[in-house]
């Protein structure tokens, strides 16, 4: 069966019950193909983070269906027992700030994920070094996070998100702290990696600098999404 990226159908999330009930996501539908990078855009309080948390298996959706790769992971209830393992093996995260582990060097920050999955240290470090090389940051492999520039830290964070070859990467405003040159470089990198590893990438952002680079954009407002074709501006 071919990989399907991530498919979200009729996803809803309700907080509270009765009079205090609040529907944060309303019948959200999305589809991101392998190798594709889509933007998720919306104002504050529109439901972006709630959607990201649902996709990241951090909170439980109230209803709907999610398919990751070729596996249905949620259909009214989680179909996966170990959500922690699901996050570790099937979902890559890239955050607004890199959030690298300050007491691990660059190589081990990336290698930690495969190690957590049970891969031996040597193999995990080899995998990590491959990705660091792909992201052109291998020369800082033995550096501590505090010794890296903001752009280097974000590249390491991307490497960490990709190291377990997850079918989907959730990037939460990955370019927010960067200037336009570095922001575009990060988006270019995400596009390259998505194509190279056939990973579906969802980039949550309201960074005007990078929005024109998406070929497809999902707008979210009051918990509802609608799809729009983006400019797909060339990244050079």
């Amino acid at each position: 069966m071919a990989k399907q990226g991530i498919i979200i159908e009729g996803l809803s999330k309700q907080y509270g019950y009765g009079d205090t009930a609040f529907l944060a996501l309303k019948n959200v539908n999305m589809h991101v193909a392998p190798g594709e990078v889509v933007g998720l855009i919306g104002p504050s309080g529109s439901g972006k983070s709630t959607l990201l948390k649902c996709l990241g298996a951090v909170i439980d959706p109230t209803a709907g269906r999610m398919t990751l790769g070729d596996e249905v992971i949620f259909d009214g209830a989680w179909h996966v027992k170990d959500l922690r393992a699901l996050r570790r093996d099937k979902i890559g995260f890239v955050f607004q700030a890199p959030y690298l582990i300050p007491f691990l060097d660059v190589l081990d920050n990336v290698a930690l994920l495969p190690m957590l999955a049970g891969v031996d240290n040597t193999t995990a470090r080899k995998q990590a070094l491959e990705l660091l090389t792909a992201l052109d940051v291998q020369h800082r492999a033995s550096a501590m996070p505090s010794q890296l520039s903001g752009g280097e830290q974000q590249r390491v964070a991307i490497a960490r998100g990709l190291v377990n070859r997850p079918p989907v990467i959730l990037a939460d405003e990955p370019t927010a702290p960067l200037d336009s040159v570095r922001a575009l470089a990060v988006i270019r990198m995400l596009n390259d990696m998505a194509k190279r590893f056939e990973t579906a990438v969802i980039v949550v952002t309201h960074d005007e600098k990078i929005i024109p680079t998406f070929k497809r954009i999902y707008h979210i407002r009051d918990g509802e999404t609608h799809e729009e074709v983006g400019e797909g501006r060339a990244l050079g």
């Binding site: 709630t50 951090v58 570790r88 995260f93 957590l116």
Partner: protein
């Protein structure tokens, strides 16, 4: 899998080292407190061992001669010495006082020993320098802890004594060094009245027509002499011949009903169970307080270290780290801190113990118990931090 705790410790080693040293000093104090208690017990046992006695005969219904004052006539010993199974019996006096050497003085237990020779009970069993007392008056053998050296002249009451021998670990149950002097001198030192009291007593006697009879020459002088001289001792130390039961001989002595006799076991019970019982409870209270303070420090440090890593813990949880891995990381850090503190504490206690004025006996068993107590304290102290870490929501790593 790499050691997250190890990497974190290496990353912030300064914090761990300084906290470990602080905790170590506290653990060192705790070990020394335990050592002080052990030293007190050992002082008591050494006192009994060095006396060389199998039985202590003291004034009736007293816990003498160490725990209570005891006074009995100094001619009882002959009666005990003639009992079957008794190897020897010696009078002894004990008096804790300030002994003067020039301008300074030393707190010491002055022991009056009968002139029965070095093999008699009550005598110091061995000397580290000099010789035993050979003269009937004004010679002394002092424990090295008193600070006296051979040839020193010390003053007890109004008399001067020359130090002719030195001993080691001859101390009272309170840890005061012993100074041995001849029994007659010790009796005088313990029971001597001051000059004014003697003069008044003499005047009263002279004015008493019963004692001052001109037709009975020498009576007044004899009475006055009897009032000055004191024939009391604090105890009689009895040695038993091999093969005889101390308890049987003690029972035989007790039959006279005017004396109390203690065996070695009973005397040890008095010294350890009664004499130092309050001090032991006091030390136990200190140990409890120190344990609680140590636990609070470890808990606070580990909690603070964990608080500093909340975001990293959220990220670790989000990327799939098991709760056990995070808990183990925190627990390992607490244990490393505890072990570091214990090593620092043990070294501190070992090097500091000799400088304490009282004997501090650091027993390996106490160190083992201390180590396990530190481990338990660290485990308990890390619980708060672990609970907090487990409550961290991985969603905290995602904005919004």
């Amino acid at each position: 899998m790499i050691s997250l705790a190890g990497r974190d410790i290496l990353h912030s080693w300064g914090k761990f080292i300084f906290t470990g040293i602080g905790l170590g000093l506290l653990i060192g104090v705790t070990l020394i407190m335990a050592g002080v208690y052990r030293g007190m017990v050992d002082d008591g046992r050494v006192l009994l061992d060095n006396s060389g006695a199998d039985l202590w005969v003291v004034q009736k219904d007293t816990l003498g001669p160490y725990a209570e004052s005891s006074s009995l006539p100094d001619d009882w010993w002959r009666s005990f010495a003639s009992l079957p199974g008794v190897m020897g019996a010696s009078n002894v006096t004990y008096l804790t006082m300030q002994v003067k050497k020039g301008e300074r003085d030393v707190r010491a237990m002055v022991v009056g020993i009968a002139q029965d020779g070095p093999t008699a009970a009550g005598w110091p069993p061995q000397l580290v320098a000099g010789r035993h007392i050979t003269r009937s008056h004004y010679e002394a053998v002092a424990d090295v802890a008193s600070g006296f050296v051979l040839g020193d002249e010390l003053k007890i009451r109004r008399n001067f004594y020359k130090v002719v021998g030195l001993t080691r670990r001859m101390v009272s149950s309170g840890g005061d060094p012993m100074i041995f002097i001849p029994l007659k001198d010790a009796q005088e030192a313990q029971f001597l009245k001051d000059n004014d009291a003697i003069l008044m007593q003499r005047r009263r006697t002279e004015e008493n027509p019963i004692f001052n009879r001109p037709n009975v020459p020498g009576l007044l002088e004899a009475v006055i002499e009897s009032q000055i001289v004191n024939h009391s001792v604090n105890a009689v130390l009895v040695r038993i011949k091999p093969g005889y039961s101390a308890e049987e001989i003690a029972t035989s002595v007790r039959r006279w009903n005017r004396l109390t006799v203690y065996t070695r076991q009973q005397m040890e019970q008095i010294l350890i169970g009664k004499l130092i019982a309050t001090s032991a409870r006091q030390i136990a209270m200190f140990l409890v307080i120190l344990a609680v303070v140590s636990a609070a420090i470890v808990a606070f440090i580990i909690y603070t270290l964990t608080m500093d890593k909340i975001r990293e813990i959220a990220v670790l949880k989000l990327i799939g780290t098991r709760n056990w891995t995070i808990s183990w990381m925190i627990l390992q850090q607490a244990l490393v801190l505890g072990c570091l503190g214990f090593v620092v504490g043990k070294i501190t206690a070992t090097f500091a113990a000799p400088y304490f004025p009282k004997y501090v006996l650091l027993m390996p068993f106490d160190s083992v118990i201390g180590f396990f107590a530190v481990v338990v304290i660290c485990i308990l102290s890390s619980i708060v931090a672990i609970r907090m870490a487990l409550k961290v929501d991985p969603a905290e790593a995602i904005g919004g």
